[in-house]
Structure formats: C-alpha cells, structure tokens
C-alpha cells in the first residue's frame, strides 16, 4: 500500500515541478527583455506579398473561423492582416463560420479600424456569422448580398459603399481564412476551386502541417502557422505586436521542453544499456 502511494506522490511532484518550470520559462522572458527576431518564413512572405501586390482599394474577404480557445495564436495574425489591409487602403470584409467567434471579430475589426479612422460600411464590412459552413460558401459564391442581406450592425449590404463592385465571391481577388478547425480545406474545395479567387490561410500551429500539401499544389498562396506566423507577419509589416513579443517566451519554453525530452531519453537509454 505504501509503495504505490509513494510513487503516485513522486509522479505528482515531478509533474508539478515541470509545471513550475514551464510557467517560469514563459513568464521570465517577458520580464527580462532580450531582442529576438527571426527571418520570416517563405510561406508567410508569400501571403504578405499577395496582400501587398493587390491594387490599393481592393476587396479582401477575411473568414475568422476561431473562438476564444485559439485566440492567443490567431488574434495577433488577424490584427496584423487587418492593419496591413487598412494601410493599403483595401476594403476588408469580415465574417466567421463560428458563432462563438463573432465577438472577437467585432472587437478585432473595430480595434484595427478605429486606430486609422475607418468606418463600417464605408471602408470595411463586418458581416458576422451565419450557419451553414460549406453551404454558406456556396451561397456567397452565387450572391454575397443574398447570403448576408444585412451586416452585423443591421445595415443592408445592398448598395453598401465598401461592397461596391462586389456581388459574389467571384468578384473578390483574395480570401484569407484564419482557422482553428477544418475550414481552410472547406474554403479550398467549396470556394477557391469553384469561384477562382486566391486563398491564403492562417491557422493554429496544430493544423499547420496538414496544410502543406495545399501550399505545394498552389491551392493556398501563403500560410501563417501559429504564433510564429503572426510574429513573421508583424516583422514584414514593421509593426511589432503581441506575436513578436511572444517569441522570446516561445523560444525559451521550446528549449526547456527539448531539454526535458533529451534528458529523459538519455536517462532511459542509459538505464536500458545497464540492464
């Protein structure tokens, strides 16, 4: 009875020591500043160049398909993209497939637009949420105003200045999906391959490896993967934000976890060699 209890207590202690180490690895770098900026990746630069190359005043559709659980990774890149659009004078159209993400979309677009004096309806459109997923994309592909007859604030989308020249997805040159789930694949199959727009993506680090086949095939023009993707975009935009600020903590924590894994494996291989 005593031995299993002792081993469980030891297990719990080891776990709690690791928790403290991880917490320290994240918090301490915020308090002890040291410069750390990486070279933006090729796939992030590709999306940045795409937004940059669009003629000023172009319409860009953003689908912010995430909720608060993925906010830490996706909010910084969403903000950076919106800022880039407003800087270029583009007209972002913002929507989401996730009901629980609408509040974040609202907060994001109002924060980015108010800093540069842009107004809803005139310079950007917040469409909000509608259920349907792939059916909604198919709807929008035929008629954007038919799918969303009013914006989030209740204003009719028909005749809205920010939507001038836009009747469906076929009139939009670039769509960017910021995703915490499988919506990127959905946008590729039901949107991009049917209606001919270019598609960029931002996603949580968890699903980033799954999207590389679409990058190679050209179905995605660029990809922001996780907080590193957000940091890279902020470097390209020359506007540091919370993405870049998190890179010190990210680096130190990764080194810690790698160290723990290597130490555990060295001990394991040593024990195995002895027996």
């Amino acid at each position: 009875m005593g031995a299993p209890q002792a081993s469980i207590r030891r297990l719990a202690l080891t776990r709690q020591v690791i928790y403290v180490l991880v917490a320290a690895a994240v918090i301490v770098p915020f308090l002890v500043h040291f410069p750390l900026e990486g070279k933006p990746s090729r796939v992030t630069k590709a999306l940045f160049d795409k937004v940059q190359a669009l003629p000023d005043g172009s319409v860009v559709l953003f689908s912010f398909d995430y909720d608060p659980s993925a906010m830490a990774e996706l909010y910084p890149m969403s903000l950076a993209l919106l800022r880039h659009c407003f800087r270029k004078g583009h007209r972002p159209i913002v929507m989401t497939h996730w009901a629980n993400g609408v509040g974040l979309c609202k907060e994001l677009v109002e924060r980015a637009s108010s800093a540069v004096g842009k107004k809803a309806g005139d310079h950007y459109v917040l469409l909000g949420f509608k259920p349907g997923y792939s059916n909604l994309i198919l709807n929008m592909g035929e008629s954007l105003q038919g799918a969303f007859d009013k914006d989030y604030y209740g204003n009719p989308t028909q005749g809205m200045p920010a939507l001038e020249g836009v009747h469906s997805l076929k009139d939009i040159p670039l769509v960017v999906d910021i995703a915490a789930g499988a919506t990127v694949e959905m946008w590729i199959a039901y949107g991009r391959d049917r209606f001919g727009f270019e598609l960029g993506a931002g996603c949580t680090a968890v699903i980033a490896p799954d999207l590389y086949p679409f990058l190679q095939s050209g179905q995605l023009v660029g990809l922001l993967g996780g907080l590193r993707g957000a940091a890279d975009y902020e470097v390209l935009l020359e506007r540091p934000g919370s993405g870049l600020a998190g890179m010190q903590a990210q680096s130190v924590t990764h080194v810690l976890i790698i160290g723990l894994i290597i130490a555990a494996n060295v001990a394991f291989l040593w024990r195995r060699r002895k027996t």
């Binding site: 090729r42 709807n139 723990l260 894994i261």
Partner: protein, 217 residues
C-alpha cells in the same frame, strides 16, 4: 416502415444524385437549384443549434433533479446562460437602456470578460500537460519512435527565432522537413481520406450506410 425508413432513404438518394449531377449541368437552372438548396440548409442549420442547447440543459436539469455528484454547480450553467440571454434580448433591441453609440453592450462585456478568458485559459492548460507528458512518456524505444523524436526536436527548435541566432541550418532543416517528408505523408493521408470520403458518400447515397438516421427502424 415506408414513412419511417424507405421514404427518407429515397429522399437521400434523389437529393444526393441531383446534387452530384447538377455540378455538371451548365444550365442556369442548376445554379438556381444550388442557391435554393444552400439557402434552405442555412436556415435549417439555425434550428440545429437548439438541439445541442436542449441536450446540454437537459443533462444539467437531470443532474440537479437526481442530486448527482456536483449537482449544485449545474446551477451556474443556468445562471450563465440566463445572464447572456437576458442581456442579449434586452440590449439586442432598441430601447431606453440601449448603450450609447461607441460603447459596448453588457452582452459583449460578458463575452469578453467571461467567455474569452475561460475559453482561452482552458486550452492553454494543455501546454503544461504536453510538457509533462513529453518528459514522462516520450522515449526512443525503437527506430520509428526515434524518427518521431528527432523530427519533433528539429521542428520545435527550428521554428523558434533562438535557433536562427545560433545557425541558419536549424530553420532550414525544419523547413525542408515540413516541405518534403511531412508534406508527402500528409498528402498520402489526404488522398486516403478523400478516397474514403467518396466511398462513404456513395454508401450513404445508396442507403448502405444508415447510422445518421438514428436508432429505431
């Protein structure tokens, strides 16, 4: 049986076949058909949320009624939902207590200060669990496990800026690993899943796969 099983399966077959065939019909009627159907499903989808809501609330009502372990906490589910619905309904329409322009509603306030921190924090706890689990269980017991471990270390190190400060080899190695062997495996998995999806869709259309009908007949 006719109304409970045969007709629904017939509907599935007919609608599915029309959905498949209309993709290859250039006539404007095909576009109108698609537009109409997708609008219908958008509307039906709105009703679907209430099934989930009812199931969740029913589960908590049962827990309270039967005084199951932790039943008192279920009251907070109803409290949270009632607050959100009350503020949503009250502030949703125009009225004397609607917020002045430029200010946010209590609905948005509750979302930003309750739902956002709770949702963000619950998933961030996984960082600790991952670190602990990696230390306790991630072992190179054989070649395959060693490959997995080495790939993980290359990616974890190569994708943070600190590695670039040491050498540009690390981020390049991570990029090469992502763009070649990782991409190949993911493409293989994607092709396999896609073939499976097509096969499953055909099974659904022909009524061989019926689990979506639910229990009973």
């Amino acid at each position: 049986m006719w109304f409970k099983r045969t007709i629904p399966l017939l509907i599935c077959f007919v609608v599915g076949t029309l959905a498949f065939v209309h993709e290859f019909v250039p006539h404007p009627l095909a576009g109108t058909f698609r537009q109409e159907m997708t609008t219908w499903f958008r509307i039906i989808g709105g009703f679907g949320l209430f099934i989930g809501a009812y199931s969740l609330l029913h589960m908590h009502v049962t827990r309270i009624r039967r005084r199951q372990a932790g039943w008192a906490y279920s009251a907070f589910v109803f409290l949270g939902a009632a607050l959100m619905i009350a503020f949503g309904l009250y502030n949703g329409g125009a009225g004397p207590l609607a917020p002045p322009p430029g200010e946010d509603t209590m609905f948005q306030w509750l979302y930003m200060n309750v739902q956002v921190p709770c949702g963000a924090t619950i998933f961030s706890i996984l960082a600790f669990f991952m670190a602990s689990a990696a230390f306790r269980t991630f072992r190179a017991r054989n070649i395959e496990a060693a490959l997995l471990l080495v790939a993980a270390v290359i990616v974890m190190f190569g994708r943070v800026p600190i590695s670039e400060a040491l050498s540009t080899v690390f981020p390049k190695a991570a990029d090469l690993l992502m763009e070649y062997p990782n991409m190949a495996a993911k493409r293989g998995i994607l092709l396999g899943i896609s073939l499976g999806m097509i096969s499953q869709s055909l099974r659904i259309l022909f009524g061989i796969e019926r689990s979506y009908l639910g229990g009973g007949d």
